[in-house]
Amino acid sequence: MAETEYAVVLFHSTQGAIKAERVLLRVGFQVKLIPTPRQLSSDCGTALRCAWADVDAVCAVLREAKVEYDSVHKVIVKE
């Protein structure tokens, strides 16, 4: 079974998650909006997932674009 390491970024606002997606897609990152994983937060909103290898670059882009994020988590998905 293959394991993939992802970063999951949580945001205050669900509109913040969309802003992050728009900004990151524009500069060429592969990202996906997913329902916020229950293990990370009991929020019912949207989180952003990207490759763990991209996490530093992604966070730098978000800070640069002044997209406020709540927290970043490492998630391992067995596929």
Partner: protein, 384 residues
């Protein structure tokens, strides 16, 4: 049919607006900001993209500092009720719409101090009068960007400069200007706009742009409730836009508004303004030439929006409007236009005026037909 009631609500809308509404209903449909499935996320993207288009239009860095409301009235109420406390002083003008005046009169009855700075009979605000009205406990200047009765454009940049100098907030009612006249949020702290006029969105859309100088802790939300964010908390979130956006958004309406704003951006506000100013100039000249017709305002298309008020001697405004509709299929709005104070200012209270509100979609031929119709109605009135 000639639609000249665009100062109330614009018609027609650009084709993309209807397409966006239909697309949302047929293909999107999810609840923006609630759930993370693709339909909900797509709805949320559409809402965000409308914010982004508006931020581009008003020159704002962060689209999340725009809060959606049902119309400009709700956006104005949010600021007036959320920010003003008994003992605070607020300065407004005599040209305001009732969506500013009524909340302020009510707040006055609760102990908020209110100064209404008079505008000239042409509807012009003197910035020096605003400055003179400021007191030590003044916290807000609430100013109409352009009159919905005579179209007069107020010097918002100068008032904004005063607001910064005295460390006050400037609230601008941009109902008549957003989409039709350049607006720069760098001069304004709180910009209230409505979606269904020159932004070409559907009715039931509008919002508030919140500048960087606004202390969010001082502005209470009018409604509290579900935001899709921080569901674990029983307290309202304190970040934008969620703090002021409780309850499911008007997703379909905001989708249409986005298409309207993108149309404005594609055409360019300068080009829209140029066309409307040309039509206004023609209309003003044509109406002023008609014996028995009195036109209000500055009589200068450069100093007003495409909203023109006039009266015909010996005919009540409501009768003029009825005849324009029935005999010439021209739609306009007679009366007081929800702005009794503005009519007192220009000297037309309680009779009111006939108002032609033009839009980017009106043509020279339509303006000439409207002038001709007024001409005929005025000639008959003189004979009678």
């Amino acid at each position: 049919m000639i639609y000249l009631d665009n100062a109330a609500t614009t018609w027609p809308k650009p084709p993309g607006v209807t397409e966006a509404l239909v697309n949302f209903m047929q293909n999107v449909g999810g609840s923006p900001g609630r759930s993370g499935h693709r339909m909900a996320v797509e709805a949320n993207r559409i809402v965000y993209d409308t914010r982004e288009a508006l931020a581009t239009l008003f020159d704002m860095d962060d689209p999340l500092r725009i809060v959606f409301t049902a119309n400009v009235t709700q956006a104005l109420n949010l600021v007036l009720f959320g920010y003003l406390r008994p003992g605070d002083h607020v300065v407004t003008t005599s040209i305001e719409h009732n969506s500013v005046m009524r909340p302020l009169r009510y707040l006055q009855s609760l102990g908020v101090d209110l100064t209404v700075v008079p505008c000239s009979p042409e509807g012009v605000l003197d910035v020096a009068d605003v400055e003179k009205a400021i007191q030590p406990h003044t916290v807000l200047l609430a100013i109409n960007h352009a009159s919905n009765v005579v179209g007069t454009i107020q010097p918002v940049a100068d008032v904004g400069e005063i607001a910064r100098r005295y460390d006050l907030l400037l609230l601008v009612d941009a109902a008549q200007t957003a989409g039709a006249y350049p607006i720069d949020m760098n001069q304004i702290d709180l910009l209230a706009f409505t979606g269904h006029k020159a932004l070409f969105g559907p009715q039931g859309t509008g919002g508030l742009c919140i500048g960087e100088r606004v202390d969010l802790d001082r502005v209470l939300p009018l409604t509290r409730g579900g935001t899709g964010s921080q569901s674990e908390l029983e307290e309202q979130p304190d970040f934008l836009p969620d703090k002021y956006e409780s309850g499911t958004a008007n997703g379909v309406g905001i989708a249409g508004l986005g298409a309207g704003v993108r149309f404005v951006l594609e055409q360019g506000v300068e080009n829209i303004r140029r066309h409307e100013q040309m039509l206004t100039e023609r209309l003003l000249a044509g109406l002023q030439d008609i014996p028995g017709v009195h036109v209000y305002g500055t009589h200068d298309a450069r100093r007003q929006t495409a909203c023109v008020s006039f009266n015909i001697e010996g005919v009540e405004p409501s009768d003029v409007a009825l005849r324009l509709d029935e005999e010439y299929a021209i739609m306009c709005r007679p009366g007081l236009h929800c702005a009794p104070s503005a009519h007192r200012t220009i000297g037309t209270y309680p009779r009111g005026t006939v108002r032609f509100g033009l839009s980017y979609f009106n043509s020279i031929e339509q303006i000439d037909a409207a002038i001709e119709a007024v001409h005929r109605i005025a000639s008959k009135a003189r004979v009678a």
